[in-house]
Symmetry: none
Subunit: 193 residues, 4 copies
Amino acid sequence: MTIGPPERAVARTKVIMQATLALAQESGYAKLSIEAVAARAGVGKHTIYRRWPSKGLLFLDSLLSLNEPALNFPDTGDVLADLRQQAYAAVDLLANPPWGPLYQALVGEAQHDPAVAAGLGERFIRPQTDRTIVRLKAAQDQGQVSPGLDLDLVMAILSGPLYFRLLITQEPMTHDYVDRVFEAIFTGLSPRH
Amino acid sequence: MTIGPPERAVARTKVIMQATLALAQESGYAKLSIEAVAARAGVGKHTIYRRWPSKGLLFLDSLLSLNEPALNFPDTGDVLADLRQQAYAAVDLLANPPWGPLYQALVGEAQHDPAVAAGLGERFIRPQTDRTIVRLKAAQDQGQVSPGLDLDLVMAILSGPLYFRLLITQEPMTHDYVDRVFEAIFTGLSPRH
Amino acid sequence: MTIGPPERAVARTKVIMQATLALAQESGYAKLSIEAVAARAGVGKHTIYRRWPSKGLLFLDSLLSLNEPALNFPDTGDVLADLRQQAYAAVDLLANPPWGPLYQALVGEAQHDPAVAAGLGERFIRPQTDRTIVRLKAAQDQGQVSPGLDLDLVMAILSGPLYFRLLITQEPMTHDYVDRVFEAIFTGLSPRH
Amino acid sequence: MTIGPPERAVARTKVIMQATLALAQESGYAKLSIEAVAARAGVGKHTIYRRWPSKGLLFLDSLLSLNEPALNFPDTGDVLADLRQQAYAAVDLLANPPWGPLYQALVGEAQHDPAVAAGLGERFIRPQTDRTIVRLKAAQDQGQVSPGLDLDLVMAILSGPLYFRLLITQEPMTHDYVDRVFEAIFTGLSPRH
DNA sequence: AGGTAACCGAGACGGTACGTCGCGTCTTGTC
DNA sequence: GACAAGACGCGACGTACCGTCTCGGTTACCT
């Protein structure tokens, strides 16, 4: 006896998401077309255009509809270990299908379409970052992290090398890579460390 | 009796590059079309297809044809200061038109087109990285950098946060941001530093 | 305690007719759409489809709902003069808005849609013709018209040139044209007449 | 060694005409679509739009590309007999497939689209009329037709009843009908004739 | 100097997809 | 319980580019 959006609409949305993901995985985002999504979903094109203004935002929604395997944000008391766990989880997600290639394409699209960039930022990056920052804040309160440190900056420093690998060098991301990044950053780059 | 590439071909290539850049700056890479480039350049479409196999590679070439303001890679003996200078130069380039938005679009395209990714890697990222590594190697030899350190990894750690800003959060990049990244990385994230 | 059609239904029909006519006059029959009629009339599309099976028949009804200015069919005893009066009246109707262009469009639609052709024949042409034939019959009885003559044929001969002008040459129809047609037909085409 | 339009273009035009006629005969003009013509002709839609601005004009051209079986315009010296022959020929053409239904649809379209009306007038009606008028002029010179008579008007009077039948009552057109029209017009409608 | 081959602009061409419109059918929720 | 509002599958619209393909009209090179 709850009130909400008509079930029909929900069902359409769902089938469209699935068709989008299926086609994106089969042929890649570049060859994805709204026409093909509509055909695959057994849906009129207008039903898609009614919900999404562009291919990019459709794709963003469909990717986010894959309920991410709950990137865990543990708090064991050891902030370094916890961050490493988060990084492992992120790598596990981004280095493997289906997320990996799709996410890469999504970030690519964000460079062409400001609306996608905004959506990606608000709906994926920001929440993800916030949860990391919660952990960092706790560590900061316990004196494990420099008091005045900009925690968004820490996020950028920890994530940056991963994105560099995903997007720029496009080499495989592994736990080992995470380990080496962490070691370099936290053990220090200078010989005296 | 000079030997070299036919001058006309060179001239044509040049006008195509210029047309590509002009259109990309006016309307953005997403709306760029080979059709429009040909029209703007006063050139047959075939003349473009003869030289470039795809829009992405045409765009890559045209961007690289902007002789980058020679990112300088100084060696003053102070490796940290030199790296910072490099970062400043990179930010000056990437944070401002025309390079900034165009480069962002190029990296975006590299996510959709492996050929662009390869070209970008070989012709821009790799050389850039190599020159940085030369400087790091020198520092390493002088004992200013940990002996066993993977210098490609250092590059990733230094560049990563900048790319994160450029591509993910899409916030403005400034010298101040570089300073804060360097301070966090080299002064250390833990309170004891 | 009166018996009759529900008044609300009548009212709704009326507003639909008006909307149809208004749109047809504004944009022409070709651009008329049931969608637009419903919107203009402030009525659900279903309400229209419940009453009319096609755009053509809706338009036919709406045109006939304009109570034609009672084409008069006089009987003054002079059949030629009376027919001429009828022709004048027809021209007055068909040569001027709103009837003129709308009727022309309706006849056009009748060429594409047999249902419209049938409706037009039964509900406009046939009654009109019948009333003319009544007058002709009287004249025939009085010996003013050849006894064996097919009066439907006479109708075709008198109307034909008017329709030719309306539909084929699409030149303006005037009383003068009627006069010239009548003179040629009744005075005769050969010089001996 | 003549100069003219490229053969390829001529060939395309021809195959498009044929596809248009085939589809129009199969499904009727109302259901004809440029999309379907393109598919049937094995041609891109743009190739059609490059040549014709509307479905109506495409159809007009395709109908006229059926080289009409040379409606003959004889001159035997007997103008009445010659006109009757012309009328027979017209009826033979318009009363039978393929011309009949297609021509009817074309005249219908002319009521919705001024461009079609103009084309029809200039490219079919006018030439047809002119040839009839040539015959009438000769008769007039020989004193078989009233000297001052508007010959366009004669054409309207002779054609009108045929078009009335084709378009309004939509009954079959036969030689017999022609005979009855001619008898009524030329023998006279009044009993004294 | 003339002949010929390569190159070029222009753009036609078969396609694919775009984003929009209207069809006729179907919910949904309101009055 | 009738009805406005409009979602829906569908088909077609007219447009934009794709990458390939003629088509003539210069170059520019080689006898």
